[in-house]
Symmetry: C2
Subunit: 102 residues, 2 copies
């Protein structure tokens, strides 16, 4: 199992706008091989931003990487450039392998 | 739903030792009210460390906070001081509320 997280430092007062972008996104993830589940997470509030993270569980890292090369991925991200004012800097990607489970 | 993550910068070459500490930990988490699941995650390798993260899903933030005040929590963490050589600095806690689900 593989967890793909993308961390966003969302600008003060823009949290609801940021959440709306994700609500309206048309990802078709449910049709992608190896997709398990997606959550949008709201993390701690810092002085100059609130941490949000997308959190997608995949059957394996390979399934995730296949998706990033797909047309579905390209479509899901084509409008990302329009939302740059909502967060500071660039989103930071982190991929995690599950090594233990309880 | 609430996800509690604790990020550890594990020293080069100490990954297996770090994983063993978690394997041998006797948490009784399965008996704790509101506990959903636990994963130990291995993230990206950086120049001076490998990122690991514990990843615990709880029914709610309140369930997580009740656990941190419990005797079970105290027991699960009583040996944590012995493992300081395995990672750089202090673990960094981040708690996340699930705001969307797919």
């Amino acid at each position: 199992m593989f967890i793909a997280m993308n961390r966003f430092q969302v600008a003060p007062g823009r949290g609801k706008d940021f959440e709306r972008v994700w609500e309206e996104r048309d990802t078709h993830l449910n049709e992608v091989p190896g997709f398990v589940e997606f959550h949008l997470l709201k993390g701690p509030e810092e002085e100059d931003h609130t941490l949000y993270s997308s959190h997608t569980v995949w059957a394996s890292r390979d399934h995730f990487e296949d998706w990033t090369k797909s047309e579905a991925f390209r479509k899901a991200h084509r409008d990302a450039g329009n939302n740059k004012g909502l967060y500071l800097g660039h989103p930071k990607f982190e991929g995690f392998e599950v090594v233990q489970k309880l």
